[in-house]
Symmetry: C2
Subunit: 129 residues, 2 copies
């Protein structure tokens, strides 16, 4: 089926999964989203202050995980990954609702965002609500 092509990449101070907050709202930093040159035109219309959803490919995730203990806590009962935000899931696409802080031609400063440095970005969309 679909093969994803990165439209950009995240440059973050978060280097490992263990350093990453579980949600953007839990103390995640801002990060630079560097857009590939082929996709820069597709940014036209985005403005500083806009809230957008950044879709990432969580390249360090496990794709064979179907159930998890939510938040990695053993006392939370095993739950299907579709009822959780676990990065480990059959198609590890991350959704991150962020604010655009700065636009510098092909780079956007966005946050808060909890992904690790080097994470590929696959899309940017208007917020759902």
């Amino acid at each position: 089926m679909g093969v994803l092509r990165p439209i950009g990449r995240i440059h973050s101070s978060i280097r490992t999964r263990s350093q990453a907050p579980r949600q953007g709202s839990e103390g995640a930093p801002d990060a630079w989203l560097e857009v590939e040159s082929f996709a820069v035109q597709a940014l036209a219309g985005l403005k500083v202050g806009d809230e957008v959803i950044v879709l990432t490919w969580l390249h360090r995730a496990r794709r064979d995980t179907l159930k998890v203990h939510p938040r990695g806590q053993k006392h939370n009962p095993l739950t299907g990954v579709f009822a959780t935000r676990s990065p480990d899931r059959p198609n590890p696409i991350g959704l991150h609702q962020v604010t655009i802080r700065t636009i510098d031609h092909h780079r956007l400063l966005v946050g808060p965002i909890e992904v690790i440095d080097g994470t590929p970005v696959v899309d940017i969309k208007p917020v759902l609500c």
Copy 2:
């Protein structure tokens, strides 16, 4: 990079792109989401009445489109696809906030959802807000 593997498929009364409302809130019907047998375990914890985000692969979309006239109206100025919900975009992933109406083992009735019959589903997630 990532190759998506469908976790299910939508069975809808919408058969063509021209029949599809532009947003779920614009009169879209409910539809059955039939989950592949390998992924059924990952549904554990979802309940009737839950709001979830269904991620689809918009398999009829054009991936070389970077700017569009929003809502297909020529009088709307050309805008980068990352500032719009156009299905035509480099990685045509659809986000659909829906309510789970019925759960029947490996099938979920969800809606409203504006995608066409046969659209592959790649993930199900809790709502962002």
